[in-house]
Symmetry: C2
Subunit: 77 residues, 2 copies
Amino acid sequence: MKARIFVTLKGGVLDPQGKAIHHALNGLGFDGVNDVRAGKLIELDLADDTNDADIDAMCQKLLANTVIENYRIEKVG
Amino acid sequence: MKARIFVTLKGGVLDPQGKAIHHALNGLGFDGVNDVRAGKLIELDLADDTNDADIDAMCQKLLANTVIENYRIEKVG
């Protein structure tokens, strides 16, 4: 079973990486960019008997810093 | 208009970040993990008249290193 974890910064949290990407896009001549936020994508290949609570625990304990980040779990197949 | 860019390493490319996450998950007692791949998620807030070719050009020129990375564009609204 595969699962994708999408980790994004919470709303009010400063995102210097996103700011740098935004600045670089402007420098390349892409003017229509209002905002950029950078996040993480983690693809897990899991044993078929892994339950949802285990995946959630992985996010809580390691994959996301829940103080400043949100996460979303998408199971694939 | 919002767009999400998913950047993932191509198949044969070594992924030390994924390896480290895999190792840490094992250390925390999660045994059912076969493989972990780490990627990037970039959320763009774009002007409504931005066309698909522009978004693709952003990926080609800056957001993804197409020698070792694949990217996927998902437009939201």
